[in-house]
């Protein structure tokens, strides 16, 4: 573990983040978008844990990441419920169809 530097962790986190963002922007399936969100959150988690290991955060960073995991679970539950409800109403999970809140 000692040979691995902080930059590597940050690189993995950034990769995950970019993958997540790309997933969110390109996927038309709502489930896919949700998966993108999970990727983004976990990218952030890796950053937090890395900073807790190498920075001055100490255990705070890890506890923050635990919070984020719990939050992600809750968010996924709510989002899936919304998706289900949307599906019941529109017979589709295509987020491009959900444009009723346009200006």
């Amino acid at each position: 573990m000692d040979g691995i530097s902080l930059n590597l962790f940050l690189g993995v986190g950034a990769l995950l983040f970019v993958c997540g963002v790309l997933c969110m922007t390109t996927k038309r399936n709502a489930i896919g978008v949700l998966m993108g969100v999970e990727l983004v959150l976990n990218g952030a988690n890796i950053n937090l844990v890395a900073f807790s290991k190498y920075g001055t955060l100490g255990l705070d960073g890890q506890i923050m990441s635990l919070f984020v995991i719990v939050l992600a679970a809750a968010e996924a539950a709510v989002a899936l419920a919304i998706v289900l409800s949307f599906y019941n109403n529109h017979r589709t999970v295509d987020v491009d169809q959900a444009s009723e809140l346009n200006g």
Binding site: V21, M24, T25, V95, D96, G103
Partner: protein, 858 residues
């Protein structure tokens, strides 16, 4: 006298009279608050009122008994006619009972009421028993230390104080000190002498009779829905309201309380307070039918005219306060006697004014301030003398108050209008209470009056008695006749007081109270029997319908006319006559003596003499017109009826007193009682007094003229009676023809000597003129200024409006419009596509990072 016995008698009298004074107030409280919440058909307020005033009468009788004993008047000494004299007081007590019982029988359906009434009667009985026991005990007591007692009261003020006190027996003291302002003590005092006690007995007796009478007279008001036939609504129907029975009796109780307080008051300021209370009560009662325009105006008139007199009263009070520094009549505490007290200040031990200097410099020495009555530190700043003219002014001021209250010329016009009140009120106002207050105060304040003031009093009375009597000749309203006769009789009293006949004036006050209240109640009975018809031109022949009223009225008419049958067999009795003869005789005798001594003022004798004839004429005219001849209005005659017993019994009681209260004349018990209080300086008269050089008659001189005066007065009265009989009884003279013949005079008298018109012209018109000027000033100057101001304000605000519209509104609108247009243009970005949003967010974050890296210094 021994101070212990003096103090003991004083406190006995004080407690009795104070209780008699406060009982009506207590009754008033219960009636006014309790009556409001109880049903309007309840007679309880009346029973409470009668109970209170009746108990007050019994207490006053005890006080009278104590006084008679203390002053050691031998009531039997007037001519061997013991039976009458003894009967006098006892009758009064006995008469209380039949009245209460009758009233019970007639009206006491309600058990509760009956109970009340019995309790009341029981109380009376109990009281009487006590009285007799008391009298018994007292008898023994006086037997034991006879020397002591005998010497005691009679000599008070003569021996023991060795010239300290120029006045006969009087008791005075203080209830309560309201406050001390500098040297001025404002206190609630009491002052009791023969006059006080007698007034208490008279007022409470008459008020009791009137209260009982009113139970019958006011029974119309015992309803939830009283119909006032004299008030019309806008649609022509009669006015309806709830009955005000309880309120009537509450006001009557308050009235009695005020009058008794006035009589008991021990200082002139307190007199003024109760004076005003009496005025307020008369206002409330005269305006009892407040919905009638005439009644409310009459109440206002009475009140305002009295205020005119009270203005003088206030000036008198101010002079007294400034120069004397005390308001108390007299200081009678054996310890401190002579230190203060108005009477003891002005009069020396012989009862005379001590003057210094002449002309404008003339002053009156204030005796008490000289330290001659008793060694005491003289107040450093207090005046020791008062300018003579200021004493005259003070006397005239106080008398001005009496002029208003006793309806003397020139303030007499309120009294006939006061007839708008219910008849029992007229009876009370015109006999025992309101108008008596003025005469009473002149009598009470007599030592303060200088000869000049007395002359004014005499002439005021002289004019009043003639004016009143002449108007009464032509009046056709039965109550108006009595009202004008009241004015005339009050004039007699004032005249008597003014010419030095102190006894005669107050004697007439008492006798007049009895026969005038009797006649008013009779007229009330007639009005009640004729269903509220007051015009004598619609009456006639009522003798057959209401005999009791007729004969009661006859007693009153004979009494006021002063008719008598000379009796030679009982020389000391003088003549067989009703009360009015004796008192009027005394007045005419005083006036005759005065005019003999002062030939310049012989008018003061001839006027009352002529008026005595006129009095008999108009009184018999009223009696004949009402009760005899053919009925002038058959409808009213057919429906007329005798009044119920609750109304006739008071008539009989009052009739008895009107007939016999003055028995024995000036030697009789009543006059002797009044004499116990007469200011000492009067007994021997005085010559060339004051700056007008008047001589006042002594008792002895008056007595010498008694027979002459009595004869001429009786002749005048007989002549008047005869004329009245010829005119209205026998109808030998056609009165309508007379009326046409003297239409000018008749019209003048019908218009009441044009006094109302004169006052209208003298006071009301000028006020109207001045007010029209004020209106013009208002309209031309004040209104224009105000209009200018308002125009200014309007124009300023219109400029302000323009500024608002042009500047403020535009700024606000511009902000709003800008916000709106920005929002409209930002709408385009809000596509609703979630992927686009995410792209924006990502791009924004990236660009933020780029910006941070580029611009943030490291």
């Amino acid at each position: 006298m021994s101070p212990e016995i003096y103090t003991q008698i004083g406190s006995q009298l004080m407690w009795l009279l104070t209780a008699a004074w406060l009982l009506p107030l207590f009754g008033f409280m219960i009636e006014i608050f309790g009556g409001y919440w109880s049903p309007r058909t309840s007679k309880t307020p009346a029973y409470i009122a009668v109970g209170c005033i009746g108990t007050g009468f019994v207490l006053s009788l005890f006080a009278l008994g104590i006084w008679v004993k203390a002053a050691e008047i031998d009531l039997l000494a007037f001519g061997g006619d013991e039976a009458h004299a003894v009967a006098h007081d006892d009758h009064a007590a006995e008469h209380e009972h039949p009245v209460a019982h009758d009233h019970d029988r007639a009206d006491g359906h309600d058990e509760a009421h009956e109970h009340d009434e019995h309790a009341e009667a029981g109380h009376h009985e109990h009281g009487e028993d006590e009285h007799s026991e008391d009298a018994h005990g007292e008898g023994e007591h006086s037997h034991q230390d006879e020397d002591h007692h005998e010497h005691a009261v009679a000599s008070h003020g003569h021996d023991s104080h060795a010239g300290n006190d120029p006045f006969k027996t009087a008791f005075a003291g203080t209830f309560y000190r309201l406050g001390k302002f500098g040297s001025l003590d404002v206190t609630l005092d009491w002052y009791i002498d023969g006059l006080t006690v007698l007034m208490f007995a008279m007022v409470t007796l008459i008020a009791t009779c009137i209260h009982i009478f009113a139970i019958g007279y006011m029974s119309d008001e015992l309803t939830e829905k009283y119909e006032d036939h004299f008030v019309h609504n806008a649609d022509g129907s009669h006015f309806h309201r709830v009955g005000r029975f309880y309120r009537f009796f509450a006001y009557m109780s308050l009235f009695c309380f005020s009058m008794l307080g006035l009589v008991l008051a021990g200082n002139i300021f307190q007199v003024f307070v109760f004076w005003e209370l009496v005025g307020v009560c008369s206002y409330l009662l005269i305006g009892f039918y407040v919905e009638r325009k005439t009644a409310s105006t009459a109440a206002n008139k009475a009140f305002i005219m009295n205020r005119v007199g009270d203005f003088g009263f206030l000036i008198g009070l101010m002079i007294i306060w400034t120069w004397f520094g005390v308001f108390q009549f007299a200081e009678t505490n054996p310890e401190t006697i002579g230190e203060a007290g108005l009477f003891q200040m002005v009069r020396n031990s012989a009862g005379e004014l001590e003057t210094k200097g002449e002309g404008a410099e003339k002053t009156v020495v204030l005796q008490a301030r000289q330290g001659i009555h008793k060694e005491h530190p003289v107040h450093a700043t207090a005046a020791t003398e008062i300018p003579y003219w200021l004493l005259v002014a003070a006397g005239l001021g106080i008398f001005a108050g009496c002029v208003g209250k006793s309806a003397q010329f020139p303030l007499q016009t309120w009294l006939p209008d006061a007839m708008e009140g219910p008849t029992p009120v007229s009876a009370l106002v015109h006999s025992a209470t309101m108008v008596a207050a003025g005469v009473y105060l002149v009598g009470r304040f007599y030592p303060m009056f200088t000869p000049e003031v007395l002359l004014v009093i005499a002439y005021a009375g002289c004019i009043t008695l003639f004016v009143g009597a002449t108007i009464a000749i032509v009046a056709t309203d039965i109550k108006q006749v009595l009202a004008y006769s009241t004015i005339s009789q009050l004039g007699y009293m004032m005249l008597a007081l003014g010419v030095g006949g102190w006894l005669a004036g107050l004697f007439h006050l008492i006798t007049h109270a009895f026969f005038k209240s009797l006649m008013f109640l009779c007229s009330g009975s007639v009005i009640h029997g004729c269903h509220h018809e007051q015009e004598m031109t619609k009456m006639g022949g009522l003798y057959k319908k209401m005999p009791i009223t007729c004969w009661a009225m006859f007693v009153g008419v004979v009494a006021i006319s002063g008719l008598a049958i000379p009796v030679l067999l009982v020389p000391k009795l003088g003549a067989l006559a009703f009360s009015g003869y004796h008192s009027k005789d005394a007045i005419v005798a005083s006036a005759l003596t005065f005019s003999n001594l002062n030939p310049n003022h012989s008018l003061l004798f001839f006027m009352p003499l002529i008026t005595a004839g006129i009095t008999a004429f108009y009184m018999f005219r009223m009696w004949f017109m009402t009760f005899f001849g053919k009925p002038r209005d058959q409808h009213i005659y057919d429906h007329a009826h005798e009044s119920p017993r609750v109304m006739t019994v008071p008539l009989i009681v009052l009739g008895f007193f009107a007939a016999f209260c003055a028995i024995g004349g000036e030697n009789g018990p009543l006059a002797q009682l009044i004499l116990t209080t007469e200011p000492t300086h009067l007994a021997n008269g005085f010559e060339s007094a004051g700056s007008v050089a008047l001589s006042f008659p002594s008792h002895h001189q008056i007595h010498d003229n008694h027979a002459t005066a009595g004869t001429v007065a009786l002749l005048a009265a007989l002549l008047g009676t005869l004329l009245a009989y010829l005119f209205y009884g026998a109808k030998l003279v056609d009165t309508d023809l007379m009326k046409r013949q003297f239409s000018g005079i008749h019209e003048f008298l019908r218009e009441k000597w044009m006094f109302d018109e004169l006052y209208d012209w003298m006071w009301v018109r000028p006020v109207h003129v001045v007010s029209s000027w004020a209106v013009a000033f208002d309209k031309q100057v004040l209104d224009r200024f105000l209009h200018f101001l308002s125009y200014l304000v309007v124009s300023i605000s219109s400029w302000d409006r323009k500024f608002d519209e042009a500047v403020v509104d535009r700024i606000v609108n511009a902000v709003g419009e800008t916000t709106f247009s920005i929002g409209r243009s930002l709408r385009v970005v809000q596509t609703g596509r979630i992927r686009q949003y995410v792209t924006f967010i990502a791009l924004s974050v990236v660009s933020l990072f780029v910006l941070l890296f580029v611009f943030l210094p490291r």
